[in-house]
Symmetry: C2
Subunit: 344 residues, 2 copies
DNA sequence: AAGCGCAAAGTTACCGGTAACTCAAACGGT
DNA sequence: ACCGTTTGAGTTACCGGTAACTTTGCGCTT
């Protein structure tokens, strides 16, 4: 039977040193493998570390030196939207591989929640922050600038980031889709998405989409911005709302594939045929699209990769590299088969 | 134009005190609203706090006193599985409402990754930990016990938790489903899920399912455990694999609804009719099920609620309440219409 | 006018590590 | 044999707050 070591009170380096009959400093040196001690001392100290179940207090280390912590604050709007769950997974996996931990903040798409979270998380001396979106409250911006730590803004392409940025041009994304749908002969377009207080990426996509449709001689007849999460069911009832509003549209662009799938299901259940009766386009090339019989018209965006890239930039900067960049993430249109075929 | 305050070096309480012409202690008292200072002093100090853009260093506070931090470590297997994304959202939302922050750890279903994460996160003196699953490496268990902080194990119902626990009995869940399918006349069952090194909840469901099927005079003809994430596409190709293996099954139980939907799509594309040619059952009552024409046979589990409950237990304990419980989360079967109807 | 009580401060020590310095013993070259 | 160098330690001070104690000054009572 192993010795009982479950002391309730925490074991400190001083305890280890005392047990080993050496000074705190020597124990510290052994634990950091810094050298300057004999093999015998090392063995002795390590034995006591095991026996006492010593776990270092990293708070003290960070606090003492001018070293930073291994925390990286990561703000994400919500996890109900699969897009962001993927981005977060990409970030955390990569950060974890380099010994950093994500401190999560769900901002629910509001600047106030973000500001409150920034304030709190900064008080814990994080090594850096990764924020979704490029709009922040004035006070949040002040705090971020004064913090003196790396900040990566993701999601939106940001020409004048606070520090670093990885994202994509959502306006262009929307524009490409609009032009594509015009090219397929659609003129009476609809949009179904979710809206939030802040000007966000989805809004930029809608703007680009609207512009392209107008440039192509079409009209966005109706745009629906639900106060809900951008997932399946809002796509379903959003479609219902849009159709029952009497708007005569021939094609609908959804905020993402999950919503588009909700729409597909609505129309199938109403007995309308896609794409014969109505065209459907999504966004994001999400997992659900991978199993549909009819390839969903969408826009491929490497979400996981985007998160990983953000984490890599953060780690590189924290390792002392002079990263100072705005990285653009590529996207490409998936023609799919939920809109009418090219008419050449 | 406001005064420039973007000092790169951090502003400490000492700086504020010096600027205000008072002692550090007085400034500290003002900031904590502890009393023992004049109105004039308060105004003065607060003015300097604003002017200098002072942000407290919570590390120092925790480090100084014997107070704990406001970090709560949260381990989750992965976020690709929507089930866990929901649980995490429930946890973080509730924790955030009480001023705590989640420190995320994606364990990828391995005990080694969990152990490494536990070691790291404990060194940051978290207020508590919320862990998914009930199996942990021996060393992780030691560390958790010795840490002297609240630990909530979620997901699996745990009769002998390390500390607190919220979950459901996955064996019973599986058993209920098995009995239900037997009741609908199925005898040659199949299972499609994903497997991982550790005995996990999905395995427990499969065990319960198998038991019920045997008890009912049926057989689990084939069980497929893919090395993949429990999401749409693995459900699709898993179905394909299962069918092409020559196993003659009349109904398939999937690890969750996302996989079940992948299966539904496979069979639809193969021209097989559900439930006439084959029965399909999922698990979790996930969002995707909300838009299907034919109600998916599944098991409703309140994932978000489960996460919230775990967070509430944590907060209650941290507030000094003597919570020491194993809470069982209720689930209920959704008969649905993707299995053949009751034959009475 | 002395003394008491209280409000409004200031002082000191400490939390758990580490940087920077000091110190003693061993060792080795001339 | 002597002295410089290396090795293996110990000592001290400090990071940024806060608990606990001390001090100062003022109003008010008797």
């Amino acid at each position: 039977m192993a010795e009982k070591t479950n002391k309730t009170s925490k074991v400190s380096l001083t305890d280890v040193a005392r047990a080993a009959g050496v000074s705190k400093m020597t124990a510290s040196r052994v634990l950091r493998g810094e050298g300057g001690y004999s093999e015998k001392t090392k063995t002795n100290v390590m034995a006591k570390v095991d026996a006492l179940g010593y776990l270092p207090n990293r708070l003290a280390t960070v606090f003492a030196g001018d070293q930073t912590s291994t925390f990286v604050g990561v703000s994400i709007p919500d996890l109900g939207n699969e897009v962001f769950a993927q981005v977060l997974e990409g970030i955390d996996r990569k950060l974890g591989a380099f010994g950093y931990q994500s401190v999560l903040g769900l901002t629910q798409h509001t600047l106030e929640a973000e500001e409150a979270w920034v304030r709190t998380v900064l008080s814990w001396q994080p090594a850096g922050l990764i924020l979704t979106g490029r709009s922040h409250s004035a006070r949040a911006q002040d705090m971020l600038r004064n913090a003196g730590i790396p900040v990566v803004e993701i999601w939106d392409l940001n020409s004048s980031p606070l520090d670093m940025s990885v994202g994509l041009n959502h306006f262009d994304c929307g524009y490409d889709m609009g032009r594509f749908l015009i090219g397929r002969g659609y003129r009476a377009l609809g949009y179904v998405g979710t809206s939030h207080d802040t000007a966000n990426a989805a809004t930029a996509r809608l703007d680009g989409f609207t512009k392209a449709v107008q440039d192509g001689g079409g009209h966005v007849r109706r745009q629906l911005c639900l106060h809900d999460t951008a997932t399946f069911y809002p796509g379903y009832y959003g479609s219902e709302q849009l159709m029952s509003s009497g708007a005569d549209v021939d094609c609908i662009f959804f905020q993402n594939d999950s919503m588009a799938f909700g729409g597909l299901q609505y129309f199938e259940q109403k007995g309308l045929s896609v794409p014969d009766d109505i065209g459907i386009a999504g966004w994001g090339d999400l997992p659900v699209a991978s199993v549909l019989k009819r390839r969903l018209t969408s826009m491929h965006v490497p979400h996981l990769k985007l998160g990983q890239t953000a984490a890599e930039m953060m780690v590189a900067r924290l390792s002392g590299e002079a990263v100072h960049a705005t990285k653009s993430v590529k996207f490409h249109l998936i023609p799919g088969a939920t809109v009418r075929p090219a008419s050449d």
